[in-house]
Chain length 206, copies 2
């Protein structure tokens, strides 16, 4: 006969529980936080932000998330349009761009090849990538596709598949992959063994 939260509060707790990092207790805490009179602005801001999120769509060229037909990168005249970096996700794209090391454009896949999760070439957007490459070759003098998938089994499989696709269809197009090796600023002593092994295997001439 203990009190149940009223339906609106219960619905709010359930909805918050779906957020990453939240469980039943923390979702309840967040719900009560949002319901408190002094949080009214925050509740309102979150409502409006979620409404705004409904207008987020994919950039026509690179498929990143944005609100216009073209994203800020694809419509940036200072970017080198002859270079396309293929990433697994918008998050990866943002991390990569934050490193200020990439002067070109991007193409954002919907994850990576993973047969166990039913993620085949069609699911992750490889047909769209092929179209994008055709367009780049036709209009922007595309000269290099860089594969920025992680060095994990699925990331390797995706990179390998992409390499085969490019080499077969456009044998003259350069395709590369981000190098593997030791992380910057970390003692070798504290580096994981797989990274050390990769750095040994891919060691470069000096």
């Amino acid at each position: 006969m203990a009190i149940e939260p009223s339906p609106a509060i219960a619905a709010l707790i359930r909805a918050l529980e779906a957020l990453p990092g939240y469980g039943p207790r923390s979702a309840q805490r967040a719900a009560f936080f949002l319901l408190a009179p002094e949080s009214q602005k925050k509740l309102q801001a979150l409502r409006e932000a979620l409404d705004g999120a409904m207008h987020v769509r994919r950039c026509r060229l690179c498929r990143t998330w944005c609100e216009n037909e073209l994203c800020a990168v694809c419509s940036d005249a200072t970017r080198d349009r002859s270079l396309i970096c293929v990433v697994e996700s918008v998050q990866d794209q943002m991390a990569l761009d934050a490193s200020l090391s990439w002067p070109g454009l991007y193409f954002v896949l919907s994850g990576r090849l993973s047969p166990l999760d039913n993620a085949g070439p069609g699911e992750i957007g490889l047909p769209e990538l092929a179209e994008r490459i055709e367009l780049g070759l036709r209009e922007d003098g595309l000269r290099e596709v860089v594969v920025a998938t992680s060095y994990t089994p699925e990331g390797d499989a995706t990179a390998y598949y992409l390499m085969s696709m490019v080499k077969k269809r456009w044998p003259d197009l350069r395709i590369t992959r981000l190098s593997r090796g030791l992380p910057s600023g970390l003692e070798i002593e504290y580096t994981d063994l797989a990274s050390i092994a990769g750095a040994v295997e891919d060691r470069r001439g000096l």
Copy 2:
């Protein structure tokens, strides 16, 4: 020149950052989680839950959060209406009720007396409690008010203030406070010293 998230995504990250337990990184993670196509139902559910939260108001009698004029407890005919338990928050009320130990009604304050936070008697709802007590005496044969504030300096101050108020205005009304003592199911060895001291001070005859 790194990519900024588009305005709608940035607004969503900022709004999520206000939630308890979220920082910039986890808010970004949650935003991308909600934006992913497979989360569309969750995004929708959260939007609707926040809309529903706008209809949550306070119960006319006990000031807990509910969607109707009276909450489930105050409109429950099996509750003993001659007993009112005063709690600091809806969360405290739910915890107390989950213990299945309280047969009466509640009155929910807006926190506790805390001069440093500008929370005086008016701010936490003591005038409304006085009105509720008058109503209870008039209509429900109110015979006991139980103060369920925590054993902290502010909880103590609130309990003391309530006791003075009741004793002065309604000298015949019984006013009690939840007992302090050892927690159930925990070895004394692992119990905090303040709780042990409280249990010694409030020891009861056998």
